[in-house]
């Protein structure tokens, strides 16, 4: 059996084919993170004096009700309006649901799109995670492809489940990720962001391998690659080498590992975000973009009992959950995130996006709740130059359709890419991911 401790003294050329296979297996076990870091085709550097834009994308899976969040209709007909009232913001004529009072006081920090529209009423995440109904390359993957990683951080991190590990998924995202770019462009997945439970398999060394021994392994692997290069002179091997070095840097870097550790954060600030998965995920998102991650995707809870936004029912699966769990957590966590980013001077360089796969029906069902409605719903964008206090479009009197300025998922996508520094008008490479759509002019100036 190959002994790692003594491996550094061996000459690769003396290794047998069997030994090589053993080493390759260990490679997969120990530093497969190289695959993730290797996803970058361009390793962009920070422009001097100007921080590159990152994104925290908050995915409200299940489909949040526009009525009970950002587009209340307290005085529409009895068959349509819900039981909750509206709070006037300090913008004349602009109100949000009484269920999000903290966000009502921060209207100047974000823009609302009240006329999002598409036609897919199923829990398909593709439209709002890619811009299209039939694409698999998520915004995060495309951004990674175009912008690469920075500061040694994984460029694309997903917080929350990724679907296959839960039995009661409300809204799968498993078909959205690297897509045609390959699995290397899938996000690095973090199931639980809370300090005591962070488990990132890619960051976990086997128990018997210390950081020193990892370095030894790196030397060993380097020797193997040297051998390979001598035999095949493969560019792919050379590229893999660079990715592997990044993985080792990441695994052994205190700075990077600390970014993933919420226990390093002030407890008062942690509490301010909310002592729940969503609040702590938002805080983790801030830590990650602060450390250099380009794109953080936060997924709301999955399991029905744990509160996805798919509220067809009355008590736990319905309006009561909107009132007691969903909206309070969104209100507190998102408000804390916007405040924290601003306090740290990060809001100008961090795009915050909040959206689900669709909205909810105008008509209330037999539970007094709402069903799926993709024809008109709301989205939120903040930071990265998005003008706060902007209201894009409007819904009609019953939130059944856009009253004016309908916004498609591709326009939504183009806006995200534009704000993340990808020129959607001149860079032909982005064309497949925006079609002919232009960014929403009210949000990009």
């Amino acid at each position: 059996m190959l002994q790692l401790g003594s491996a550094k003294s061996k000459n690769c050329q003396g290794l047998s084919r069997r030994h090589m296979l053993q080493v390759a297996g260990i490679d997969l076990l120990g530093i497969s993170l190289a695959n993730s870091l290797g996803s970058s085709s361009v390793f962009a550097d920070e422009t001097k004096g100007r921080r590159e834009t990152s994104c925290i994308f908050i995915w409200l899976n299940g489909g949040p009700s526009q009525f009970e969040t950002f587009d209340p209709k307290p005085n529409t007909s009895e068959a349509i309006r819900g039981p909750f009232g509206a709070i006037q913001t300090h913008l004349p004529g602009v109100a949000v649901s009484e269920l999000i009072p903290m966000l009502s006081r921060r209207i100047d920090k974000y823009a609302l799109i009240r006329s999002m529209t598409h036609r897919n009423a199923n829990h398909a995440s593709t439209a709002m995670l890619t811009g299209f109904d039939n694409k698999q390359e998520s915004f995060g993957a495309v951004v990674t492809k175009f912008k690469g990683s920075k500061q040694g951080m994984p460029p694309y991190i997903h917080i929350g489940s990724t679907a296959a590990d839960a039995t009661k998924i409300v809204s799968n995202i498993d078909k959205v990720g690297g897509g045609q770019f390959g699995s290397a462009y899938d996000p690095l997945a973090m199931r639980d962001p809370t300090g005591k439970n962070v488990k990132l398999s890619m960051f976990s060394l086997p128990k018997d391998i210390s950081a020193d021994r990892l370095q030894q392994r790196q030397q060993l692997l380097g020797s193997i690659d040297e051998f390979r290069q001598q035999t095949e002179n493969s560019q792919a091997i050379q590229r893999l080498d660079r990715h592997r070095q990044q993985a080792v840097d990441l695994l052994t870097s205190t700075r990077v590992r600390d970014a993933f550790d919420l226990e390093k954060e002030d407890r008062r600030l942690r509490a301010k975000y909310g002592a729940n998965f969503f609040g702590q995920a938002c805080l983790m998102g801030r830590r990650l973009v602060e450390a250099g991650t380009r794109y953080v995707q936060i997924k709301w809870y999955d399991i029905v009992a744990y509160d996805a936004w798919d509220c067809h029912g009355a008590e736990l699966p319905g309006m009561m959950r909107m009132e007691q769990q969903l909206c309070p957590r969104l209100d507190q966590g998102l408000s804390a995130l916007l405040d924290d980013l601003e306090d740290r001077g990060l809001l100008d360089s961090t795009l915050v996006v909040v959206v689900g796969e669709f909205g909810r029906t105008p008509k209330l069902n037999k539970n007094g709740a709402r069903d799926h409605w993709p024809y008109c719903y709301s989205a939120l964008m903040a930071g990265a130059g998005v003008p706060g206090g902007t209201i894009v479009g409007a819904s009609d009197r019953t939130c059944a359709a856009p009253a004016h300025r309908p916004v498609s998922p591709t326009e939504f996508a183009a806006t995200i890419y534009h704000r993340l520094g990808i020129d959607t008008t001149t860079d032909l490479r982005i064309r497949p991911f925006v079609g002919g759509a232009l960014p929403i002019r009210e949000l990009v100036g």
Binding site: P83, F84, G85, A275, F277, A305, Y306, A314, E315
Partner: protein
């Protein structure tokens, strides 16, 4: 489940026990929990000595794929009404007898194609609940009162409206007062706490209780003097807080040590007004949503060993039981 034999000896709890008369009353808390079934909550009963110790003493027999929540104990501790919801069906109100450990037949109450939930029980054998567009009711969310003995709905004149919502009933132990939430009072349809006097069949003003933000989830003491409720108003400890309103003075009573920077919700005030059980999300908690109990006499939280789990506990209903010697 251990049979709750002590409950069978109880008689109707009609007197308001003052804090000074009884320093360590036994408490019974009903709550919803996901501790054993992560997808569907079950109603559990937790008995506490009023000081340091307590334990789970029973639960409502779970039904496959049914979520049970929002338990409401009768003030004699014999019955527990709750909301039950099977996926893809409408929510209904159910009732559990803690003595016999069997369901109580509420068949006439269930005669609605639409959702009914959020029950509240008083000492008298009546259950108040909210119903969505129930046939024969004015419309939207209305409050209904069902008498268990006669198995019929009782009139609540001048309470419900057809255009607006009456929700979240909290019946006082003496059955006279009914606190609830309405959105009928402001143009913005803000949720506000209101009070209905069954004796006079009319609403009663609660000056100084509501704010220009959401005020909701009332819980009322036995004689209707104290109303604990949830508010989003600014100036509190953080996000949602629990406030306590004294109808005698029309003022809010401070609750030092109860609220946190996080969300406090679902208060349940004991009949004597001394204890308030509630839900909170705190970093030091066992799970995300945990149940806590506040003692107004000591101005501190009671330790509730064994009550919370790594999964959610919520919707508490707290009553005070007579001491063993009573």
């Amino acid at each position: 489940m251990r049979r709750l034999t002590w409950l069978s000896a109880l008689t109707l709890f009609t007197g308001m026990v003052s804090a000074s008369e009884q320093s360590s009353p036994r408490l019974l808390i009903a709550l919803a929990s996901l501790r054993d079934e992560p997808l569907h909550p079950t109603i559990y009963f937790y008995e506490h000595d009023g000081e340091q110790t307590g334990k789970i003493v029973g639960k409502v027999a779970p039904v496959d794929k049914r979520s049970d929540h929002h338990p409401a104990l009768s003030h004699d501790g014999k019955l527990c009404a709750f909301a039950a919801e099977v996926v893809s069906t409408v929510c209904t109100v159910e009732c559990w007898n803690l003595d016999t450990e069997k369901s109580v037949d509420l068949a006439p109450l269930k005669k609605s194609p639409n959702a009914q939930m959020a029950p509240s029980l008083g000492t008298a054998p009546v259950v108040c609940f909210e119903a969505w567009n129930r046939p024969g009711s004015p419309g939207r969310w209305d409050l209904l009162l069902y008498e268990l003995n006669t198995k019929r709905l009782l009139d609540l004149p001048n309470l419900n409206t057809s255009q607006f919502d009456e929700r979240k009933p909290a019946l006082s132990g003496d059955g006279r007062w009914l606190a609830f939430v309405t959105n009928a009072q402001t143009r913005e349809r803000l949720s506000e706490v209101a009070l209905y006097d069954r004796q006079a069949s009319q609403r009663v003003a609660v000056p100084g209780l509501n704010s220009r933000f959401m005020d909701t989830e009332p819980s009322i003491s036995h004689d209707g003097r104290f109303i604990a409720f949830v508010t989003d108003r600014t100036g509190g400890e953080g996000a949602r807080d629990i406030n306590l309103y004294d109808r005698k003075t029309s003022q809010l009573i401070p609750l030092p040590g109860l609220n946190s920077v996080g969300q406090e919700q679902s208060p349940s005030i004991s009949p004597d007004g001394r204890f308030i059980a509630f839900v909170s999300e705190r970093l030091e908690g066992v799970g995300e949503r945990d149940v806590y109990a506040y003692d107004r006499q000591t101005k501190s939280l009671l330790p509730l060993p064994g009550l919370n789990s790594p999964r959610d506990e919520y919707d508490p209903c707290l009553i005070v039981l007579p001491s063993t010697g009573d």
